[in-house]
């Protein structure tokens, strides 16, 4: 029975429960971290806090999901952080101008969103075009776009000033909840019950923030596309071997163009939603490094920068890990810069674990 012996010689982490832990180490780590923060910090284990964490992580969720596609193809997109800022500023600017022109609220918000989303497509198209047509390494192409988008954003925001002026209604949508419950009295959807004053809104039990719905929707669609469609399978194939996919008849250039555009577009959704969350158009500051945190989340989620590997679910876990770390450290009372160190250590750990168990995934 040579087979049996071979199986027995395998290590603990290569079978059964151990295998499950090693394969989902990020998830296990997330649960462990949540548990320890809940014990250590008052008010961490609280539905309001958890909703707050996912609400604040909306941008990170979308950016990381965008990055996942590009990383699976073996490329990298470092422009998304500034595409995010660009579409946020453009959307806010359009709303500001139309508000001054006296347009009613609903079409004005719609026009702002459309402008932000449309503008976000362009960097992606250019990135894809440079990568496929001119064989510019993705890092360089998107880094050039990083500079260009950063400059354009600062142009639209008149130097280092956030764009004020979108109507208040946008923050009501962006920070709203689906279920608003006044215990024992009333339940209302999308907005507070009429008799509750604005100041008392925090005493309501509010569930399912709108931002979470957006995250779930976008991540769900992208995850579905990646897992169950031909487009998704081709994405993995290109990341595995570009030559082989070309020989297998996949139109690699067209596919990459779509992937880079998609990545940029999803970053644009995140940017437009940023206006809904904050009520202003935020440019991306030079130390923000949204794109690098997105890459970090994707890698912690089990993707490889070599391409061919990665899941949207894993990416979501990676984002949650960073978000919980961030909020947890704040609640425990540690200064925010421990976050940078924490992310650095986590990220390296992720890759080392990945290296230690190369056959697991």
């Amino acid at each position: 029975m040579p087979n049996r012996q071979a199986i027995d010689r395998r290590g603990y982490f290569e079978k059964g429960f151990g295998l499950a832990v090693a394969r989902n180490w990020a998830l296990c780590f997330l649960i462990l971290m949540t548990a320890s923060f809940s014990l250590a910090g008052p008010g961490f284990f609280d539905i309001v806090n958890f909703q707050n964490i996912v609400h604040l992580a909306t941008g990170s969720f979308l950016l990381a999901a965008a990055e996942t596609f590009v990383i699976i193809t073996g490329g990298i997109d470092v422009s998304i952080g500034y595409v995010y800022g660009l579409s946020s500023v453009v959307a806010a600017k359009v709303m500001q101008l139309l508000l001054a022109a006296g347009l009613p609220i609903a079409p004005l918000i719609l026009a702002g969103c459309l402008a932000g989303l449309l503008v976000s497509i362009i960097p992606g198209l250019v990135n894809g075009w440079l990568v496929t047509r001119f064989k510019v390494p993705s890092f360089i192409a998107t880094m050039g776009m990083w500079g260009i988008c950063n400059g354009l954003t600062l142009f639209f925001s008149d130097g280092f000033m956030p764009v004020m002026g979108p109507p208040d209604a946008v923050t009501k949508i962006g920070n709203g909840f689906i279920l608003n419950i006044d215990p024992g009295k009333a339940v209302s959807f999308f907005g507070k019950p009429d008799y509750v004053a604005d100041a008392n809104i925090r005493f309501l039990l509010r569930l399912f923030p709108n931002s979470l719905i957006l995250s779930i929707l976008v991540l769900g669609v992208l995850g579905f596309v990646l897992k169950y469609t031909k487009f998704g399978r081709h994405t993995y194939a290109i990341g595995g071997s570009m030559d082989a996919s070309r020989r297998a008849g996949i139109n690699v250039d067209k596919h990459l163009l779509i992937v880079y555009t998609l990545s940029s577009f999803v970053a644009g959704i995140a940017g437009v939603f940023d206006v809904f969350q904050t009520g202003i158009g935020n440019y991306t500051s030079s130390g923000a490094m949204y794109e690098l945190f997105a890459v970090a989340a994707v890698v912690i989620g089990g993707a490889s920068l070599m391409g061919g590997k990665g899941r949207i679910f894993g990416t979501a876990i990676g984002v949650l890990l960073l978000a919980v770390l961030n909020t947890g450290l704040q609640i425990v009372g540690l200064p925010p810069f421990y976050r940078y160190i924490g992310v650095g250590v986590l990220l390296t750990m992720a890759v080392i674990i990945d290296q230690l168990f190369p056959d697991l995934f």
């Binding site: 440079l130 390494p137 360089i140 500079g147 950063n150 920068l305 890759v351």
Partner: protein, 355 residues
């Protein structure tokens, strides 16, 4: 006859293509001297070098890593880390009662030594644990950023010795209108009289280091090994090169130059800031790529990287003189970065077509 001239044209184009960076620098100079007054002057040239010191040092830092086929994202924040360490140490030494010269020297040396640590860690992760350079150095970016802010605890270092500022903003040579020459110290002249100040000290110090490491890269066995590793890692290993050790050294060199950039910043602005180099990563990598290095490794030279840095430094100073806002610089650098690769690709293709 016809074919001959065609060939000649092609050869000329190829020659221009391979030296397009020089052509571009000339174009930049022409453009700025037409659109501003007094651009072609010694003062402007010195200003370009003075404000560009960090870019030159960070470009060199990035070059070594890119030749091996890696990337170092941490240089900007290692630079910030170095400014924090240097300023904190200087203030501490002065408080302990050391003389300004002693405290400046001691803290500079200590900063460079401490600045080697992030590189050691990066190299160890990349060479030993096979962590992709992108990830390892991004982690180090976070760690150095965290530590800098931890050390600063919200407030910049105070009470730096004035000597640091004198070095950072000093010049090698001063010439008065009457022909008097003095070294290092601004001579006493009647108010309003013009004094020529030649060569900022900080630029000289920077270029001494760059020259030393250009020599190491071009003329030593270690330098050859760096190219070999970038060209083909496995072949280099089989040829008996100690790839692990050399890679660790390369990342330490990168960190060393980032720390040098940090020191230059501290001397120039007499302060320490965690985010002193946060916007510089684009410039550093752009300089190397404009200088013709390939991100796949195996190519690149210090001389051409210096030219790449010069492209950026001239651009930044020129746009500043034209009083254009920062965003123009970002846009133009982004464009040039992409153009650099496309031109190189086209040139490479035409070379291949020639056989």
């Amino acid at each position: 006859m016809n074919t001959l001239t065609a060939n000649g044209k092609k050869a000329l184009l190829a020659k221009l293509g391979s030296r397009w960076v020089l052509v571009f620098i000339v174009l930049e100079l022409v453009f700025f001297s037409l659109s501003t007054t007094g651009f072609l002057s010694i003062d402007t040239a010195q200003m370009i070098l003075f404000y560009g010191t960090e870019v030159f040092l960070l470009g060199t830092a990035e070059l070594f890593v890119i030749i091996t086929g890696g990337i170092d994202l941490s240089v900007g924040f290692v630079m910030g880390f170095a400014t924090v360490i240097a300023s904190k140490l200087m203030a501490t030494f002065v408080n302990l009662g050391l003389s300004p010269l002693e405290s400046v020297l001691a803290s500079s040396i200590l900063t460079l030594l401490i600045g080697l640590l992030p590189g050691l860690m990066n190299g160890w992760l990349v060479a030993r644990l096979k962590v992709p350079a992108f990830i390892a150095t991004f982690s180090m970016l976070g760690i150095t950023r965290g530590f800098s802010e931890l050390l600063l605890a919200g407030s910049p270092a105070k009470n730096l010795p004035a000597l640091a500022g004198n070095i950072g903003n000093g010049y090698l040579l001063f010439i008065t209108k009457r022909g008097g020459i003095s070294f290092f110290n601004r001579p006493e002249v009647p108010r309003g009289e013009y004094v020529w100040a030649i060569v900022p000290v900080i630029v000289v110090l920077g270029f001494v280091f760059i020259a030393v490491f250009a020599f190491i890269l071009n003329r030593t066995k270690f330098g050859q090994h760096i190219y070999a590793i970038g060209g083909n890692k496995e072949a280099a290993e089989r040829a008996g090169i100690n790839v692990r050790r050399d890679l660790i050294k390369v990342y330490m060199i990168s960190s060393l130059f980032a720390s040098l950039a940090g020191l230059a910043y501290t001397f120039k602005y007499i302060t320490g800031k965690a985010d002193a180099g946060s916007g510089m990563l684009l410039n550093g990598i752009a300089a190397v790529v404009i200088g013709g290095a390939s991100m796949n490794g195996g190519s690149g030279s210090v001389w051409r990287t210096v030219l790449g840095c010069l492209v950026i430094a001239i651009l930044e100073t020129g746009l500043r003189i034209m009083n254009l806002q920062t965003f123009t610089t970002y846009i133009v650098i982004g464009f040039i970065l992409i153009m650099a690769v496309i031109v190189d690709q086209l040139f490479l293709n035409s070379k291949r077509a020639e056989g």
